[in-house]
């Protein structure tokens, strides 16, 4: 039997019962499509978390009060209750080598009012260095200046989300930054003058930098927090990527001395760098991706069993045909190949449709939910190989069974 004849025979056998072939294929289609779509969602969120962490700032080292309980988690006592970091710590860190800039911060969520509009958002008290450390770009106006900090000026720099919430003239018109500059807004009852608007950075999830108001550190301590001595976080920018470990170690040693702690395991602060956040986040998302892929793989397995079931039915149904083929000279191998080819054609066809559907599903998911998806070529190739392999694995037993039929009994079969 030539390859061409084999393909022709297979094609006509598969198309003879289109509904049944279609339904059988559907199992593989759904399996492959869900693998492609779910892996795309997993990889997409991995990429988007990565990019939002990158947008936090380059070579960033973050110091927060409280101790890390275990590797990879940053659980700590409720923010504010652990008051161990001071602005003086920040000043001391500035003198370490390879430290580019240091920004102490205090933050909280407050009610913000402008005329009839109000919103509840993050208010961050900080110093001018924050602009550099955390890659904040100003669209219009200025960021908080040194003078603002030393004079505790009641000035505010608002993010684009806040701008739209407070200053949009109507629900369908958007506000321009110029509409906000010079206006007075109320934060927790205190009046602030808007001096700048930041550029939209995008990002979502745990740290939305667009929905934020920046005010001078001292102002925040006086008017919002009531207490003056502590900060909720200190951000440090190292001069180079390579210097980050050294900077991190130096900060740890310096703060241990300043806080009179001898045992490093008892430290009342945590020093994190961006790389460790990235690795934690990506290990979380890769686990997530694996989980999704595993769920999808189960449906693929079910699809494979469906193929086997149909092939076994087909073998039984076509017993007489197999008997005839043997009577007219077909060998065992001819029969095995024919039935294997049928199941591979079904799974491969299903795989092809599945890839297309999975890709479409990934696009639709990202359009509808806004989750970033990324369809990767290696996974598509893998899906093809897997679907062909499923055809061979689940088609082998029925094919051998067909080939092993005794022609006399097969011809007599009713």
């Amino acid at each position: 039997m030539t390859t061409r004849d084999l393909l022709e025979e297979t094609y006509s056998a598969v198309t003879v019962n289109k509904v049944r072939s279609g339904l059988t294929m559907l199992g593989i289609v759904i399996g492959i499509a869900s693998v492609i779509a779910l892996v795309a969602v997993g990889q997409g969120s991995q990429a988007s978390i990565q990019s939002s962490i990158d947008s936090l700032g380059a070579n960033l080292v973050m110091i927060t009060p409280g101790a890390t309980r275990s590797v990879g988690t940053t659980l700590r006592a409720a923010a504010g209750s652990s008051e161990t970091l001071t602005p003086d710590d920040a000043t001391a860190i500035e003198s370490l080598s390879n430290v580019e800039a240091v920004a102490p911060e205090v933050s909280g969520r407050y009610q913000v009012i402008y005329k009839g509009q109000n919103t509840n958002t993050s208010v961050m008290g900080t110093t001018p260095a924050y602009e550099q450390v955390r890659n904040v770009s100003i669209d219009t106006g200025n960021f908080v200046s040194d003078t603002d900090v030393s004079n505790s000026n009641r000035v505010a720099v608002i993010g684009p989300t806040v701008l739209q919430t407070l200053f949009a003239p109507s629900t369908d018109a958007s506000a321009t930054p110029d509409m906000a500059i010079g206006q007075t807004i109320k934060i927790k009852g205190t009046q602030f003058t808007v001096i700048g608007v930041t550029v939209a950075q995008g990002g979502s999830g745990f740290n939305n930098q667009d929905d934020m108001i920046y005010i001078p550190l001292t102002t925040a301590q006086h008017y919002l927090l009531g207490s003056t001595g502590y900060v909720t976080e200190i951000d440090v920018e190292a001069s180079t990527q390579g210097a980050m470990t050294q900077v991190q170690n130096d900060i740890t040693n310096l703060l241990l001395v300043r806080h009179n702690i001898a045992d490093p395991t008892q430290a009342d602060f945590t020093v994190l760098n961006q790389a460790s956040i990235v690795s934690t986040a990506s290990s979380v998302t890769s686990t997530f991706t694996t989980l999704l892929a595993a769920i999808a793989a189960i449906s693929l397995l079910v699809g494979g069993i469906g193929i086997m079931n149909m092939m076994l039915t087909t073998v039984t149904e076509r017993t007489r045909e197999i008997g005839l083929r043997k009577a007219i000279g077909a060998k065992k191998n001819d029969i095995t190949l024919q039935f294997l080819a049928e199941s591979v054609m079904l799974t491969f066809g299903g795989g092809l449709i599945g890839v297309v559907l999975g890709w479409l599903a990934a696009v639709v998911i990202s359009l509808v939910t806004g989750i970033t998806t990324s369809v990767s070529i290696p996974y598509i190739l893998l899906a093809f190989f897997v679907s062909a392999a499923i055809g061979i694995i689940f088609g082998y037993y029925p094919a051998r069974r067909a080939a092993g039929l005794n022609p006399i009994e097969a011809l007599r079969y009713e």
């Binding site: 039997m1 030539t2 061409r4 004849d5 025979e9 006509s12 003879v16 007489r320 045909e321 008997g323 005839l324 083929r325 043997k326 009577a327 007219i328 000279g329 077909a330 060998k331 065992k332 001819d334 022609p407 006399i408 011809l411």
Partner: protein
């Protein structure tokens, strides 16, 4: 002298072993010459089907020798038997055994697929076989399940011709047909035998059908009862003559 296509020497066939052993063929000896039209007749249980399976290289005898076209096939393996069937035997079955939803032409050329013949050549041979089996050209592209039973059996006969076999083996070819279409099928066999010299072996339990052959071998209880020339050979009428009767 014509050469022998079939030579059977003391063919025995038994199923099972020991206590449960059933002897179906108890020593069959006969030979068939090239160009003969032989009917093998016997009631059910006589062993004629088992004999047919051995003659058709679907099975091998427990003992004895069977030469088909000069080759001893009684001790071949399954795969070697498949080669013999592909090259030397054309089968016609009671139940036609055509591939459903497949064109007549494709059904007829099917055996040649296993001989690795190119498609164009296959179809040329299939068309000639269909003509020889008196199958009307207008129906060549019809699906096998769209034609009548008599036509289906002629498709099966055409299929048995495409490998130019040494032997055409027909197992109750008229069993599923009414007498009229059965006669047309028998006419087709007689025509192939008389005009083209094809060797035909017909297995049947009906004396009427057997009477269309030149020679009748009676089988009973695994033995040959009689083996004689048929002096009252019936000639089947072709389709045209039958139709003329009715008009």
């Amino acid at each position: 002298m014509k050469k022998d296509i079939i030579v059977c020497k003391d063919i025995k066939k038994a199923y099972g072993v020991g206590e449960t052993e059933v002897v179906v063929l108890k020593g069959i000896t006969f030979s068939i010459e090239e160009g003969e039209f032989v009917a093998i007749m016997g009631p059910s249980g006589s062993g004629k089907s088992t004999l047919m399976h051995i003659l058709g290289a679907l099975d091998t005898p427990t003992s004895g020798e069977y030469f088909l076209d000069g080759k001893d096939v009684s001790k071949l393996s399954d795969e070697e038997l498949a080669d013999i069937r592909r090259e030397k035997i054309g089968f016609v079955f009671q139940a036609f055994n055509l591939l459903p939803r497949t064109s007549v032409l494709r059904n007829v050329s099917l055996p040649l697929i296993y001989a690795n013949m190119p498609k164009f050549e296959r179809e040329e041979i299939a068309k000639k076989a269909l003509t020889d089996a008196a199958f009307p050209e207008a129906f060549w592209q019809y699906h096998s399940n769209q034609i009548s039973g008599g036509m289906m059996q002629r498709v099966a006969i055409a299929r048995s011709l495409v490998n130019n076999p040494a032997l055409i083996l027909a197992d109750e070819p008229t069993g599923n047909l009414d007498s009229k279409t059965g006669e047309i099928v028998l006419h087709t066999f007689q025509n192939l035998n008389m005009t083209q010299g094809k060797t035909v072996v017909l297995i049947t339990h009906e004396p009427y059908v057997a009477e269309h052959a030149d020679r009748i071998i009676h089988i009973r209880d695994g033995n040959i009862l009689t083996d004689e020339k048929n002096n009252h050979k019936r000639l089947a009428r072709n389709e045209k003559d039958i139709t003329d009767d009715h008009t």
